[in-house]
Symmetry: C2
Subunit: 520 residues, 2 copies
Amino acid sequence: MADVPKRRKRGGGRAGNADRRGRAVIDQMPWAPPINLDRPTEPLNEAGVLAIHDGAMRILEEIGMQILNPEALEIFRASGGCTIEGEKVRMGRDFVMEHVAKAPPEWTITPRNPERAITMGGRHLNFGNVSSPPSYWDMEIGKKVTGTREMCANLLKLSQYFNCVHFVGGYPVEPQDIHASIRHLDVLYDKLTLTDKVAHAYCLGKERVEDVMEMVRIAGGHTHEEFESGPKMYTNINSTSPLKHDYPMLDGWMRLARRNQGLVVTPFTLAGAMAPVTMSGAVAQSLAEGLVAVVLAQLIRPGACCAIGTFTSNVDMKSGAPAFGTPEYMRATQMTGQLARFYKLPMRASGVCAANVPDGQAMWETSNSLWSAVQSGAHMVYHAAGWLEGGLIASPEKFVMDCEILQHIQRYMDPILTATGPDEIALDAIREVGGEGHYFGIQHTQDRYTTAFYQPYLSDWRNFEAWEAAGGVWTAQRAHQVYRDIIASYEEPPMEDSIREELGAFVERRKSEGGAPTDF
Amino acid sequence: MADVPKRRKRGGGRAGNADRRGRAVIDQMPWAPPINLDRPTEPLNEAGVLAIHDGAMRILEEIGMQILNPEALEIFRASGGCTIEGEKVRMGRDFVMEHVAKAPPEWTITPRNPERAITMGGRHLNFGNVSSPPSYWDMEIGKKVTGTREMCANLLKLSQYFNCVHFVGGYPVEPQDIHASIRHLDVLYDKLTLTDKVAHAYCLGKERVEDVMEMVRIAGGHTHEEFESGPKMYTNINSTSPLKHDYPMLDGWMRLARRNQGLVVTPFTLAGAMAPVTMSGAVAQSLAEGLVAVVLAQLIRPGACCAIGTFTSNVDMKSGAPAFGTPEYMRATQMTGQLARFYKLPMRASGVCAANVPDGQAMWETSNSLWSAVQSGAHMVYHAAGWLEGGLIASPEKFVMDCEILQHIQRYMDPILTATGPDEIALDAIREVGGEGHYFGIQHTQDRYTTAFYQPYLSDWRNFEAWEAAGGVWTAQRAHQVYRDIIASYEEPPMEDSIREELGAFVERRKSEGGAPTDF
């Protein structure tokens, strides 16, 4: 990290008067994206899987999808497999399945630090930061405020700091103090310098998409050919449910498909609002919307790296407000997992809640959503740290709290916990202790005690009296302190000076050209 | 409920100046103990199951268990299947398995209100209140205080009020303002009048056990013969790990076995302290300790209704403090579930945490433990509502918060969530809405919206601004208000006057006789 001082001069004062105490603010688990050992939870029997598949296929065959992008429409038309009326595209199940089958069941995204590559598919499980909230809340501010570049950068630092965050999704908060025309340039500069993990591009117009791809290419030190040899980044698009894909999302989707980058499509099908009130209907619709995008990608590049996402939840039928981490959400996620396996596509799920502050509700809703992601066999879990208020607020305390749960999941998937060899059954130790004494002092314990159990960085396991004597601090407040300590001692991952310069020059040039057009 | 005013005179002023607004303080789910639809999570393959079984058997064969009860020792001796040296009993696996096989895989406990019967075994899932904390904490008091009868009664009222609490375990807090000699009489009087759900007896000396059985018999209006025709109540005993069963626990166990009541044995095997530091070793030891008690019960009454409990967790290896709801805890619970099925015994697990206050940590630890109970196929989940500080504190706010999670689980197990019939796939509704509009107004939604989704009583799904305008109340504080409202409007379940009088007379007589002997 010899370049850090240089970087700090060049990068400006964003790191503030950071107290460089090194990176060991907390004793966290090492980088090790978990392998999901559990058989997925499968609420559907085979007939149920086929019923949802049939529903998705009939939606595509009989009802059709509106494709609000002429270029995409032309690709569907040229395929010879679709019926097109105006912007409505219908396609038969054989055609769908033929093209979906071309998508690889497993693929890898390699960021600028190849050691941070993540694999989509198989039993791989990867967690990402909260993405895209317009607002921010922390305990010091104590109210909901508009996101800024500094808040965004701080959340990027958390995303890099925590080894249990495996990829960096969208902007962890929307930095509204940067003009929309150049926002992507500044945030991607921050993201690519403050982190070395897998990055993401929003599909919000060709200039932004192309700029981000170019910046990721520069950050990785790749030639164009190397960049296109396999995914170095990804995008996530949402359909405009019900049954529509809009222009910019498909435009970006096609641009990334052409350049062989990662493609995740996640319909936002709120049951009772943008999808049927019945969960299997909402899942069927979500799949139909997702599969259309997968087919499009395969038509552009057979073998394009696609994943199908779920964001199916329910609304509060009293108010219409979206709800997250509900029982219905859990089941929809698990059902989508079954169908993703049916289609042999990697899957994305989320860590979400409706709570407004990082309290008990936030944790039971987030626990429900994160564990249902695990149970669904999801490979990519978006918003896994930092999300509040149905995605409208990013919170650093919530981020720090969620990472404790992510570490639980990571540890839970360690095969040592359920190993049953003679050393683990430990008959000799049991014989040694017999009916007297305890296990603290024996050799079997001494040999293992430093690594035998999960060690939390945020949970306080002291008894009430000791906890009270230390100030009686509740979890969210403890998380606030961890957040501040991490930011204060943050050290950027190394980056070659020449690459940093090239990246900076690119940003300056594109800014001087006016960035991306905006509607306002 | 015509007897309520009479009871209130008779029962004294404990209910305070309650505002009787009826029972609809919250819109909760009806009484309906869930049927666990999910395939259990099984971290062990067949070889792993057999390795733990072999470990448990070798503990019983080679190391043996100390049985600190002469009567129990004599029963083991008389069986002809055990090797006994002093108080140490060893037994072969054929003998163990022969007797364990006599225990029924499924049995029912029927309390004074037969509609509140619960079934142990099969896919049945039942939740019980926190049991046995010496201390109490609520947001108004704001500190840890010694339990009283009033606190205990209030927690019993919560246990009765919430339909998602299916049985009443031990004292929800230890009422230390009642002398230990008569405490069981007063608390059981409260429990049996304030609730009509399955009750429990502590095995703390023959007088207490016999008194409680008699009071449950009276409350149910049973003859002695009826009482013994099948379980009307149950006990839970803990071994004194490692590898010991003490006198009073076994004494009570045998008394209940003779009278055909429910028997749950739950070793408290903290890995690294009272059991091996390796989880499968701790589980093997726990099973060995539990199976000895099951064998004893079967020797007394072949077919005695037994269940095996797990309380295997880990300690904090820095401090020795017990930890709960950890990844290790989850896996130990799931492994025990696999072995319980191997032995064809119903299973008990718990809802537990190490947190000192009802905050974020409390909720992620409790979520982990409750969901792992579900994943283990447990039939009885102790401490499922109200537990803090590793079981040293009972809290009404935590109780109210936990019940929201219990309702999640109950709703999650509703087959309607994953139904895939034509009405649920809802192709006609999807066709009707097409690519325009939304689903709020259509008939398919209108027909279902009142019951389509889980409706929380505590989660606040309003957006931040509406939540803030309403006072910006965090979850624990909202739970406090729900708790107060429930207590203020609490109505007891009906009980015939003659039974109440008989129960009261029994208590008075036993008090006049001095209750149970105490050591102090």
